[in-house]
Symmetry: C2
Subunit: 250 residues, 2 copies
DNA sequence: TTGTCTTATACGCAAATCGCATCTAACTAA
DNA sequence: TTAGTTAGATGCGATTTGCGTATAAGACAA
């Protein structure tokens, strides 16, 4: 247990264990939420226009600091409720961003979360939090190559993003694309009852491609996640589609 | 911009933006590393036996606090160097753990990292950091179902784990299994030159299954990641296998 | 030198999956 | 009743996968 070098691992470990880390300066800890839904068949995220310095005028993800007696998930749920006025949507931790100068005011580590909003939840958020704006997210890369994404206004103008929030959005789209076809996240963007066409629209919007209808239908039905409700879509001027419900496979 | 409710999102947002969060108590921020390799065809992680309270006598992942002027990746690399004496291995952020009582001393948020160690790096770590012990990781669930994992000593005894480190290990195995066959992480567990059989052994060890040899070989070769080196394995008493090198596909 | 042992590597199908064109069903509206 | 539109089903060639088996290449022993 004796050490020969100053940098001996054991020494370092004991050093850190003995000294109270409370005396060191700590970074601030925040959560930032990517509130993602679909608008007109395209991915859209809810952003806030920053009024104050820093990055005044730029667009930011809703976020907040993590309380000392708050779990990360609780902090994310709190932001969801307080800044978007919604609850009960799919929420998952995405990645933790810790670049040194990501916030010019001070050192802030941000745990990014991804929330998936069905159309109704997205509309509800826009209504309850009027300062939120739905920005179309353009993903210029195909498949799971990764890369930058752009946030566009309704008029198609590029919205400049604050902090490293462009990176967070890019990570959100990458994660979503990656999980879409082996997990059940796709259903988190749909209402309780939906048609196979709506499910396919979700997949096509997220992946940014078109999919073959019979093949998609087959794969989804074979997966055993879809329970037919027996009732059918209403209000169409053509053959109404069967409505399905997501069944989380026991 | 006027609000009717006390909990109006705009008010909350402005509140948080105006008040200096530096006055709030901050959680401590740490990184914990899952140093994962293979021993005798089984997954193994490097653990430290805790000498002090809390969880004295239990086994913990190597970790350390994040300095105020240190990125998360830098903190993880620092732990890798100072506590395991190695560098140059695959390192990726895993998940951030923030349960309230995960450390009884104080509120500590831990950003977990996964390091993948080829056999040589694992041996080097064991040599440079004698307090590290390689524990076999038993994964009792199949596929990507997820669930608990157990750490076993060389004698097969279950090693009690400190803090929430069992959760971190479980997350590491889940992530690795999930990424193994669509990404190139498998190569991070191999030396620079390796045979197809060694590659298959890595996959089988991580997945906990046996794989069909011709099918595996075909898939790997079709992927375009394998460059034949022209030389062959030495020291076998049978037909020596071709040595390949991983080519990160331009 | 030759035969045996062991593993690498190649080959050959059958089965399953996928992509895709097309056909039929169901509903509205005129 | 008919045209228009989309849902849902069917059929089939191409591709991928699983898996048994044949051949190749080396060491080693007789």
């Amino acid at each position: 247990m004796q050490n020969e070098y100053k940098s001996c691992p054991v020494t370092e470990s004991e050093f850190l264990a003995e000294y109270d880390p409370a005396v060191y300066e700590r970074p601030a800890l925040a959560v930032d939420l990517v509130l993602l839904g679909l608008r007109e068949g395209r991915p859209a995220a809810l952003l806030l226009k920053r009024a104050q310095h820093p990055h005044a005028g730029r667009w930011a993800l809703p976020g907040g600091f993590v309380g000392i007696d708050q779990t990360l998930d609780a902090a994310a749920l709190h932001v969801l409720h307080e800044k978007a006025g919604i609850a009960g949507v799919h929420l998952e931790q995405l990645y933790t961003f810790g670049a040194l100068a990501r916030d010019p005011r001070m050192r802030i580590i941000s745990v990014a979360y991804l929330a998936l909003l069905p159309e109704a939840a997205l509309a509800e958020a826009l209504e309850r939090a009027p300062s939120l704006v739905a920005a179309r997210i353009e993903v210029p890369w195909s498949g799971e190559a990764g890369g930058d994404v752009a946030a566009l206004s309704a008029k198609g103008e590029v919205l400049p993003l604050a902090f490293d929030h462009a990176d967070i959005l890019a990570m959100a789209m990458l994660r979503l694309r990656g999980k879409l076809d082996y997990s059940d996240v796709g259903f988190a963007l749909l209402p309780e009852h939906f048609t196979l066409r709506q499910l396919q629209d979700v997949h096509e919007a997220v992946l940014g491609t078109t999919l073959n209808k019979p093949a998609f239908r087959r794969r989804m039905l074979d997966r055993g996640w879809l329970m037919p409700t027996g009732s059918r879509e209403a209000g169409t001027s053509f053959r109404p589609a069967e409505l399905y419900r997501f069944q989380p496979s026991r």
